[in-house]
């Protein structure tokens, strides 16, 4: 039916006509949607009365953009995409893919030239073009850098695809060094390089890696064992408070408390596991959600121990196994040991490698467990619980080990979080955190470590990078604060990814078992299926 309707419509109207028509529809819909959102604004006047401020101009711009977008998509985008699927009669080949046409050597060289020129004149841009235009220039430079990097990646795409994990780990290990070296070159001094790296290593590197680790931990519960857990942040909180309380009260070191926090979180994982053994799916989700809230409310109300909503401050820093300290007052402070200038950046770089190590430990354990009977049992449990039981798998212990293992990594991440912040309060462990971690697991593709890492980088790094979009002020006016739109864009990105890849970035599951070696199924085996 739909096909027939499509065909008759295509026969009767050119893409241009259809574009006009659909643009009008889209304009009407967006006008209806945005009339109240954008067209009117409530404000207070001098006498504190509520007044309506009409913003017809802005409404017109938004509706116009929607119409233009729809028109371009229908009139030019759709026919273009349709042409991509038509084989050239003469050559018998499909047209060059969009990517190969987009990434060409001349363009690549041009982008390098642009980057080079704008880098050289970076200091004098404001003077030459004025501040507004200079903002655009910097944006243009950022685009050129992205294009150049994307071209390189496109050129080596087969290699990158084949060695993605190893390359990813290599990039992560090299990241702080590259940042420090690059910023040292730009600022012209070593100290400036370290100082400038603070933001990149801390806000981007550590922040993303914490979420990678949390998502990998939750992946064991949700992705492998198929137990939908909406209260994962509870274990993060248990780990954080375990370190915060024991370190401030008993003065134990991080390296002792890290396993302690992990064990305590695992213990609470089992505590949560017992009552929910018989639950699955939605019911399980609700109970775990409640569990997360219970932990948070206990932290708020048990003031004698947790200091309530005020939280715990003065949590000691991590030391390099007691050998090198990161406290300025200590005799073995890193700057004194090596005779270098004082900087907070050393500690951040150290923390970066610490969380990288912890995250890789999580990945390593997950990969190993998947090949072991317990990991296989988790996956089988996700697929079919009844079949599992009739194959002699003890589903009780299987579920509890999944909860405990996932919770343990949450606890590790929590104690790291406490050590990094130096301060914990219940505010850090709200439901939204659980939701974001779960969203990362789902977006990445349940069960896929690589997909989840990419999702964490895109989601957390993406929202962080919006803080850097200063040039947008040049577009939208100086009182525009792009970071306020972070969560809006986060939500939009999630919707788009789910439409585009419903099973996440990496939706396919990597098998763990082979008879003797990896065997590709030849076409003669797959020609026909009887039965």
């Amino acid at each position: 039916m739909a096909n027939i309707a499509q065909a008759t419509r295509e026969a009767s109207a050119t893409p241009f006509q259809r574009g006009i028509k659909e643009a009008l529809y889209a304009g009407a819909i967006s006008f209806g949607l945005f009339f109240l959102f954008i067209g009117l604004r409530t404000d207070q006047n001098i006498r504190n009365e509520l007044i309506l401020v009409p913003r017809w101009g802005l409404l017109a711009i938004v509706v116009g953009l929607v119409m233009l977008g729809r028109f371009v998509y229908v009139a030019y985008g759709q026919p273009f995409m349709a042409r991509q699927k038509i084989v050239n009669v003469a050559s018998g080949l499909l047209p060059d893919s969009v990517a190969t046409r987009f990434f060409k050597l001349p363009y690549f060289i041009a982008s390098l030239v642009v980057v080079g020129l704008l880098m050289v004149f970076a200091g004098s841009l404001d003077g030459i073009f004025g501040p507004a235009l200079a903002g655009y220039m910097r944006f243009f430079r950022a685009l050129a850098i992205i294009y150049a990097l994307a071209s390189v990646m496109f050129y080596f795409r087969a290699f990158i695809q084949a060695h993605f994990s190893a390359l990813g780990i290599g990039v992560l290990v090299a990241y702080p060094i590259v940042v420090v070296v690059a910023l040292t070159l730009i600022s012209g001094s070593m100290a400036g390089g370290f100082q400038g790296s603070l933001k990149w290593v801390d806000n981007f590197g550590i922040q993303i890696l914490i979420y990678v680790m949390l998502a990998w931990g939750l992946n064991i519960v949700v992705g492998l064992a198929g137990l939908l857990d909406l209260g994962y942040v509870a274990f993060y909180a248990v780990g954080a408070y375990a370190y915060a309380l024991l370190a401030t009260q008993l003065g134990w070191s991080f390296w002792i408390l890290l396993p302690v926090a992990g064990i305590m979180a695992a213990f609470w994982g089992v505590m949560l596991g017992f009552p929910v053994l018989r639950l699955r799916g939605d019911y399980l989700a609700i109970v775990t959600l409640a569990f997360g809230e219970i932990i948070r409310l206990v932290l708020i109300n048990w003031r004698e121990v947790t200091n309530g909503a005020a939280g715990i401050s003065g949590i000691p820093k991590v030391s390099f196994f007691g050998l090198i300290s990161f406290n300025v007052s200590d005799p073995n402070y890193i700057a004194k040991v090596f005779g270098i200038a004082q900087s907070g950046a050393y500690y951040k770089i150290f923390l970066y490698y610490l969380i990288l190590g912890l995250a890789l430990l999580t990945a390593f354990v997950t990969i190993r467990l998947r090949r072991m009977p317990v990991g296989r049992a988790w996956e089988a449990l996700r697929e079919d619980e009844i079949a599992c039981r009739s194959l002699g798998i003890n589903t009780t212990t299987t579920k509890l080990t999944a909860f405990a293992t996932g919770a343990m990594f949450g606890g590790f991440a929590g104690s790291f979080f406490a050590a990094r912040q130096g301060f914990v309060s219940p505010e850090s462990f709200v439901f939204l955190e659980s939701a974001i971690i779960l969203a990362i697991v789902v977006l990445g593709g349940m069960g896929s470590l690589v997909g989840i890492a990419v999702a964490a980088a895109v989601m957390i790094g993406g929202t962080e990078i919006l803080r850097e979009m200063e040039f947008l002020k040049a577009v939208f006016g100086s009182d525009f604060t792009p970071e306020l739109y972070r969560m809006l864009l986060f939500g939009m990105a999630m919707v788009i990814v789910m439409l585009w890849k419903p099973r996440g970035f990496v939706g396919s599951r990597e098998p763990t078992a082979f008879l003797h070696e990896r065997k590709s199924v030849s076409s003669s085996f797959t020609k026909e299926g009887h039965g």
Binding site: P373, R376, A377, E379, A380, E383, D384, I386, A387, C388, R389, S390, L391, G392, I393, N394, T395, R509, P511, T512, A513, F514, L515, R518, K519, S520, V521, F525, G529, H530, G531
Partner: protein, 243 residues
């Protein structure tokens, strides 16, 4: 075939779903080396009996004895570890796991040293599974899924194999292949098989002995040949009569 000593003994078993009685005092016994078929109409309680042997749902009255041990109240996974393997109703293979991984799941931990040997045995029995070794379970055809389900059960090196409707939804040719494989297992390895079937003709032809179940009660029993010849059975299950 000479009947060995009793392997599975079901005595006066009553099973309920909530307040509804599904099994009303069932007596069935399976001797070593036999193929026993249980036939009956939809809703007669055949599958319930299969599941009751595994303790889900549990028998409210009566006893189930396996190789001299009372298994009525054992947890399901411990019953399975006594070397009773099941190819459950609807096959219940793991759809996102490969054929190989499905077979791995069937192998119990104390049998891992025999794993390669056992896999080869399954592949000899069902060569088609070897062709599909790296394919995900969910992408197999119905017959292949049934083969995988039986193969997975065999990986546990069972003393007793329970099959719940192995012919369900399969083409006659595939049903024949599967029944041949069951007969082969019984003949060469002496495997004891207890199968539940709606395909009464095929099942009774295959079976040493058979039981007929109606509304949660065993109404008739005898050798496969006798039941096939019985006019009542013929009328009810073999000639498309009303039941």
């Amino acid at each position: 075939m000479t009947a060995g000593k009793s392997l599975l003994d079901i005595r006066g078993v009553e099973t309920y779903y909530g307040n509804i009685r599904a099994l009303n005092g069932v007596d069935v016994s399976v001797n070593e080396g036999e193929i026993v078929a249980l036939i009956g109409a939809n809703g007669a309680g055949k599958s319930t009996l299969m599941m009751t042997i595994f303790g889900t749902p549990r028998a409210r009255r009566g006893t189930i004895t396996f190789a001299g041990t009372d298994i009525t109240d054992l947890p399901t996974h411990e019953i399975a570890r006594m070397r009773i393997a099941q190819s459950p109703e609807g096959r219940r293979i793991f759809p996102r796991m490969t054929v190989m991984e499905n077979l791995q799941m069937g192998a119990s931990l104390d049998n891992l040293k025999f794993f390669d040997e056992d896999v080869e045995k399954v592949f000899t029995l069902f060569p088609r599974l070897k062709e599909r070794i790296a394919q995900r379970g969910g992408t197999l055809s119905g017959g292949e899924q049934q083969m995988l389900s039986i193969g997975r059960a065999l990986m546990a090196r069972p003393k007793l194999l329970l099959l719940d409707e192995p012919s369900l939804g399969l083409a006659p040719l595939i049903v024949k292949q599967i029944f041949d494989a069951i007969r082969e297992l019984n003949r060469t390895q002496g495997l004891t098989v207890f199968l539940v079937e709606q395909n009464a003709f095929g099942a009774l032809k295959l079976a040493t002995r058979g039981y007929v179940m109606v509304n949660g009660v065993v109404t008739m029993s005898g050798t496969g040949k006798d039941l096939l010849a019985d006019p009542e059975v013929r009328a009810a299950y073999l000639e498309g009569g009303r039941h």
